[in-house]
């Protein structure tokens, strides 16, 4: 171990470029979000059955470069959530909390304060190493990322922007300009579960990812191997699955094309219900910029190999535990963004379940009053039959619950 550490330090010294800039001051920045959401329940006509929720979200970030080759980064957040934006209150209303909130009056279920990212990076001429709690965000898809297996990204989350941090090591080395090898070793499962059992941290369950990134003319290609561990059941014993991954992206004039795929290998927990086509998750996307007018269009197809092709197979518990972000097998996402009057943006997004035909519509309008002050208003509308995914009455352990009620929201964001 000592020999390895000394060797590593010598290599770092040799690879560090000779010039160095003076240490930079600490750069502190971040943003504050105020979010108010109104959900129209079916309990009464008009707004009689509506309930409201509120979120105050503060994200504070800091950077420090004591040396040209060293970077420290810290991100913490404070969340205050009330009403239908408070997950505890929401799950309590669904009747699926295993305990009553009033049983523990000393616990603050409204506010949380956390360090989400805290990492240090050494960067050399051809290699770098980052350790700490950092975002591990792989893949080129905009909405779905089958190759990103280290953490959850928010789905239909209009408040949070960042990829959650994962305790991990991450390193890359570039033996040639067109070739880079990158790998990570994580020390917590995908769910970042709050339970800590020694069994969970057995080396056999440690998530990892390795990949080769290649620049091949107009196309960027990546191929790799990823192991995901996730304690979806909350038992302290994670499920472990290994995937072969790949993605590619190309830009042809004003058109961007991308694809991402993850293929489950019949190893570990992936072996039990493995089948050839069910093992494949694929994303194919296109982005095009309409010439001469400030409009961007995007379309993304997602195939979830283990998704349900029949409504009868929908298990909404998979959504609530985080095992899946969507339940079905085939989806089409579309988005049009129009920039108007220099500071305005009008956005219409939709997500269609191609198996049952149900869809989510998300219209949104935003205005930049100042460079660092943006106001948004939007809505989330679910269209489908009751037994459709986006219809969507879920049959939970407590009984049928409508998880897909329409909502409107207002969001204010100040950056500093």
């Amino acid at each position: 171990m000592k020999v390895f550490a000394v060797s590593f330090l010598v290599v770092c010294f040799l690879l560090t470029p000779p010039t160095s800039l003076p240490a930079s001051p600490v750069d502190v920045y971040g943003y504050l979000v105020n979010f108010v959401g109104l959900t129209v329940r079916g309990d009464g006509p008009g707004l009689n059955g509506a309930d409201v929720g509120y979120v105050l979200y503060l994200r504070l970030k800091g950077d420090w470069k004591p040396h040209e080759s060293l970077t420290f980064h810290l991100e913490g957040d404070y969340t205050g959530s009330l009403g239908n934006q408070n997950p505890w209150a929401l799950f309590d209303s669904y009747g699926i909390l295993p305990f009553a909130l009033s049983d523990d009056p000393t616990t603050d279920y409204v506010q949380t304060l956390a360090i989400d990212h805290a990492w240090a990076r050494w960067s050399g001429a051809a290699a770098d190493f980052t350790f700490g709690k950092q975002p591990l965000a792989w893949g080129t898809g905009y909405v779905f990322n089958p190759t990103s297996r280290a953490s959850f990204s928010g789905f239909l989350d209009t408040v949070h922007e960042e990829t959650p941090g994962t305790f991990s090591w991450l390193s890359s080395i570039s033996p040639a300009w067109w070739l880079t090898f990158e790998g990570y070793l994580a020390f917590q499962d995908k769910t970042a579960s709050t339970q800590v059992l020694l069994l969970e941290n057995s080396w056999q369950y440690l998530p990892f990812g390795v990949r080769a990134k290649i620049l091949a003319g107009p196309v960027d290609i990546t191929t790799g191997l990823v192991r995901e561990t996730a304690d979806f059941a909350g038992t302290g014993i994670p499920e472990e699955r290994t995937f072969v991954t790949g993605d590619a992206v190309a830009a042809v004039g004003p058109v961007g094309l991308y694809g991402e795929a993850a293929y489950l290998l019949p190893l570990g927990d992936g072996e039990s219900d493995w089948d050839t086509w069910g093992a494949l998750d694929v994303v194919l996307g296109i982005e095009w910029l309409l010439p001469g007018i400030p409009v961007t269009c995007r379309a993304e197809y997602y195939r979830q190999g283990k998704g349900a092709s029949e409504k009868a197979s929908y298990d909404f518990a998979d959504l609530l535990t985080g095992r899946r972000s969507v339940l079905g097998m085939n989806y089409l996402f579309g988005d049009i963004e129009w920039t108007f009057l220099d500071y305005g943006r009008l956005n219409l997004s939709e997500l269609v379940n191609l198996n049952d035909g149900s869809l989510i519509l998300v219209p949104n309008i935003a205005w930049d009053f100042l460079a660092d002050f943006t106001a948004e208003a939007g809505a989330m509308v679910f269209i489908g039959e009751d037994d459709d995914e986006f219809g969507g009455v879920a049959d939970l352990s407590s009984g049928p619950v409508d998880l897909m009620e329409p909502s409107v929201y207002v969001k204010l964001k100040i950056s500093f």
Binding site: P17, T19, D27, Y29, Y31, D63, T71, R121, S123, A125, A126, D128, Q134, P135, L136, A137, G139, T140, S153, E161, E162, T163, S172, S174, W177, T180, E182, K213, L215, P218, D220, V249, A250, A251, V252, G253, P254, V255, G256, Y258, E287, W288, L289, P291, P294, T339, D342, Y343, D368, A371, D372, T374, K413, S415, F416
Partner: protein, 251 residues
């Protein structure tokens, strides 16, 4: 008669020779002028700290958006822009290698290769009135064929026709004779009147080189303008290859 014809021929020949000489002298002068300008501005690498103020209405100085950028340049086709303001973009990095571009989003930790805009469109919406073509590096002489169309005690004015595909049909460049620097450019797009005007002003010694510290691009059709202020710069500093690598430019 034979003598008169002979004299006429000689006179014509002399006029032709002098005319050609004059044309040759003017053409060479235009090339020499632009070559001198290019040589004064040529760098292998550069690091520049810039402020860019975008005015949607050039008459309304109160309505503007400011971007603070550190720009790293290498050769003619490689550049990285790192944004520090507005704070909502702090840490956003844009790598350009020829026609290819990548963006690093610090909030998600993702790098995306992005579709190219046409050359006459604003750089990812934050370039203001500067298009990709306006900001592209490269010598004037490589991009245009020039002829001198006017001259006074202080300046030359040259007309330029693009040598390769361009969003402009022609340009007019005004060069300061003392500084050997471009101080004004007018741009045409198959139109009777110019569509854009670039003015270089407040020349100062920055990093050991005399440069225009205020560069204003006015869109004469839209009535908008963008002002780039060079705060400081380093010329020909050593820059890591990683700074221009699509795999590592943000690290």
């Amino acid at each position: 008669m034979k003598y008169v014809k002979h004299m006429s021929f000689n006179l014509t020949a002399i006029v032709l020779v002098f005319s050609l000489s004059a044309v040759n002298a003017a053409a060479q002068s235009a090339e020499d002028i632009i070559r001198q300008v290019d040589e004064r501005n040529r760098t292998d690498t550069s690091v520049m700290n810039l402020m860019m103020d975008v005015y949607p209405d050039s008459r309304d100085e109160r309505n503007s958006r400011r971007f603070v950028i550190t720009g790293y340049g290498r050769g003619e086709n490689e550049s990285t822009m790192v944004f520090s303001e507005p704070r909502s973009l702090n840490g956003l990095s844009l790598l350009s290698l020829g026609d290819d571009q990548w963006i690093f989003f610090p909030s998600t930790g993702r790098v995306r290769k992005i579709a190219g805009r046409s050359k006459d469109e604003s750089v990812q919406g934050v370039g203001g009135d500067f298009s990709y073509e306006d900001l592209s590096a490269g010598d004037w002489l490589e991009k245009y064929d020039f002829t001198v169309i006017d001259e006074d005690r202080r300046t030359w004015t040259l007309s330029g026709e693009p040598k390769k595909e361009s969003s402009y049909s022609r340009i007019e460049v005004t060069v300061d004779q003392r500084r050997w620097q471009v101080i004004r450019v007018l741009y045409w797009q198959e139109s009777a009147a110019p569509v854009k005007e670039l003015v270089m002003d407040e020349f100062r010694n920055v990093g050991g080189r005399e440069v225009a510290t205020i560069t204003t691009m006015a869109n004469l059709e839209k009535g908008s303008k963008t002002v780039i202020t060079t705060v400081d710069a380093q010329w020909n500093p050593p820059l890591d290859d990683a700074r221009f690598s699509p795999h590592r430019f943000w690290k």
